[in-house]
Amino acid sequence: MTSSFRLPTGGRVDRSTELAFTFNGEALTGHRGDTLASALLANGVHQVATSVRLGRPRGIVAAGAEDPSALVQVEEPFPEPMLTATTVELHDGLVARGLPGQGRLADEPDPARYDAVHAHCDVLVVGAGPAGLTAALTAARAGARVVLVDEQREAGGSLLGAPERLDGAPALDWVAAAVDELTAHRDVRVLQRTTAFGHYDDGFVLALEKRTDHLGAQAPANRARQRVWRIRAGHVVVATGAHERPIVFAGNDRPGIMLAGAARTYLNRYAVLPGSEVVVFTSDDAAYAAAVEIADAGGHVAAVIEARAKAPAHWAEECARRGIEVRTGHVVTGTSGTDRVTRAHVAMLADGVVGPRTGIACDTLLVSGGWNPTVHLYSQARGRLRYDAALGAFVPGEEIDRASVAGSATGEFTLAGALRSGHDAARRALASAGLSTEGLPAEPELPVTDPEPPAQPTRVLWSVPDPDPDAGHGDQRFVDLQRDATVGDILRATGAGMRSVEHVKRYTTIGTAHDQGKTSGVIASGIVAEALGVDVGELGTTTFRPPYTPVAFAALAGRDRGVLHDPVRVTAVHDWHVMHGAEFENVGQWKRPWYYPQDGEDLETAVLRECAAARESVAMMDGSTLGKIDVQGPDAAELLDRLYTNLMSSLKVGSVRYGVMCGLDGMVIDDGTVIRVADDRFLVTTTTGNAAKILDWMEEWVQTEWPELRVHLASVTEQWATIPLVGPRSRDVLAAVAPDLDVSNDAFPFMTWRDTGVAGVPARVCRISFSGELAYEVNVPAWDALAVWEAIFAAGRQWGITPYGTETMHVLRAEKGYPIIGQETDGTVTPQDLGMAWVVSKKKDDFVGKRSFSRPENLRPDRKQLVGLLPVDGDVLLPEGGQVVEVDALSQPPVPMLGHVTSSYRSAALGRTFALALVRSGRERVGQTLYVPLEDELVPVTVTDSVLFDKEGSRRDG
């Protein structure tokens, strides 16, 4: 592969840089400005990959994102699968190989950084071709804030791939001047290498900017490799150009078969001659330019195979002048070749009948069946499409709010027309964004184009009949090269009765590959329509969905990876827990100490030890994650009366009450303590996981139903640190750290609170218990939490004070039958089901949920009720979630389920295992033996009251 197809002059590549790269193990070189595809073609490499299902050699079909076949795996600088050679910018040290359809994800972490940027503008222009540049210039000159995004490394669009002239000079001079003018505007941002891949409601567009991919190993480590732009635009101008449409024929997938427009791009932009012996097959005028330019550049064009009866006069003359044969009324019916096309089979096509074929030797076969406007972004935003029978393409229908289409994306394929439509779209955009066009001249100042030859209508030809359908090699007329899906596959789908292109797409997989059918989708619609004898316009296309081009998950994730994926909340005492070897449990976003293993203890041993300390001496925990809501205002008590099942207005300042909240349906949604700070002020606690939800719930009622209530709510969860101090010795410890407080039972009884100094810090101490033991809850400002924690810990040392975690807390409360909302409840459990009818006020006329308690469903005697379960074998620990059944042997299913185990622990105090469960008619079943099926046995359990320890409450006062 030593032959070079690089022309000595011309193109947009920098011949002064030589970039070394490796493809399929072979060392090659190219230039700055190349894509991997153009560099491969310059080295004469046409076969890039093999196909996914059939293993057929595949080459480079297009010069951009629409390429259906040139899939590569990049190995260096970082492994990345499934990239198209046509969109990988060449850089020094690139190592890549062709893919047999599927790639390999990196098995190492991606060291690159990814980021996201927000931008707001009046007008977003997508595409920096002639239409997009004109639109951006027009909007910028009117003073609009403009963002222009373009997927290529430099602006110009189609002008990069064609030797067009504007104002009598090379068109790229005009492009350079336009970009200079745009970048000089203060409120204009031009983003190259940036692909708008999603267009959503209200002018919202996502675009992927590739910042360092083209630098390879030289990419600076401090720069994000890619970033996602989240652009909110007053108006979006879609100037995304058009994709050339191939014509499908047998053997159309061989390397060396390329779209004619792509060949022009390789020739003009990259100065690469796509082949030496060229045949052009077209049903459209545009391909003639490829034939003429290749001939002028020194390639030999053997023939132009013109599917139409007559060649356009201007181009026929140009071909004749260069000695290029034009065979009208002919088509390519097939090809020969192994790794590359070697021969085009050509025959007359009249009335759908293929005549006798002749062969034309070639190493390159260029194809054009017309152009499809790139309507993806327009359609994604729910713009309707209309079929244009003359173009054989779907074009934008009537405009939608906040988006316009310009240039060849509208089906306007002349340069003069593109410039004009870019200007017009910008004017509509300015009007839509509510901006003045006063500063603009009445007549647009557009560059002058060279006269274009009269156009001859395109012949819409989706596919050429297979001249040899019985050859036994299967259909080789590939519609979707990446999926190895053929005309025959489509006909099988319609033959099986499918009538919708969406169904055919899913049956054949056409359009589901990395390219999402950019070259195959409309052809597939056309072939389906022909097969069914319906109008293509009626049939329509499959839906265009984001993303327009593949986007790496890493880019979408941006910085939200690893520790930044989700915020981690820690308490003010967190570092102490870490230093003391705590294992942590995630509760919502909080890290809570789970247990504190000592000397190699496992969870079970540590928890038994922690529980014993709490029941026998003294223990402490960090309860700071409890939700806390400050409720203030003259109507604070009234609000709480309406939201809690029990009465809160009767609570005295200085006292604490436990409360339950229900939804309108009467189901428990949260519980916690309420302390009355003043006549018009309460502090409400919620479960850790429900803090935000309950604040929202209270706000919703205050704002939407009872706006007359004078009450304000604020979260103070993070402001207060909370330290439960538990056990028979807790009073001694508290007395030691709170010298000003009379801790006697008479002076400081159960369910009261006192403000006092703890370890010299102003504190609020509540006498409440979640364990049944004598217990206190010390609340201090979070800032002082560590000092107070350490003081309590030091004061308790003489009684062996033991820090405990959430697991011990769970065991202690479960022994007392205290439910955990979200564990014992699941949104279908009433307070009565929990055996807590006592918490439901009978005095109040109404509160949220009250009316539902008398619904017949909630009065059924066979509702699931909270009970205790004692495994007959006190060593067996039931799994939480285990089903409860009545039968001692599992019969044929269905086996009636009575309920399930909600909590299950090993108890130090009981010297055995126990569980809580929701069981149908549970309270009636106390004393019964039920069964919990495990994998291979039925565990017998005795139903008990839910309170298993110290039923009399004798331990509460110490």
Partner: protein, 92 residues
């Protein structure tokens, strides 16, 4: 992603908001006298029209205030927004 015009803050991204179901369904006072069916209708049933629908929204990641909006359920287009307590505007 839609823009939703919070009547207190102005247009903001959809992700800043939470949905609160049908608007103008008042909590029934004196509900003890409602039949089970009437109460069930209030708790569990809401309209589900195709077309303009008055809904409650809350600007939860912004001003945290509830407001009402008329949204066309077929197009998602928000036809009007109005503050809590204001009457439902007439939308064509």
């Amino acid at each position: 992603m839609q823009l939703i015009a919070c009547p207190h803050c102005g247009p903001r991204e959809e992700t800043e908001f939470h949905y609160g179901g049908q608007a103008h369904v008042a909590y029934p006072a004196g509900n003890a006298t409602l039949s089970d069916e009437e109460w069930g209708q209030f708790v569990f049933f809401r309209d589900n029209p195709k077309g303009p629908f008055a809904e409650r929204w809350v600007h939860s990641a912004g001003c945290r205030r509830w407001f009402n909006a008329v949204r066309d359920t077929a197009t998602h287009q928000i036809l009007a927004v109005y503050r809590q307590g204001e009457p439902k505007p007439v939308v064509a």
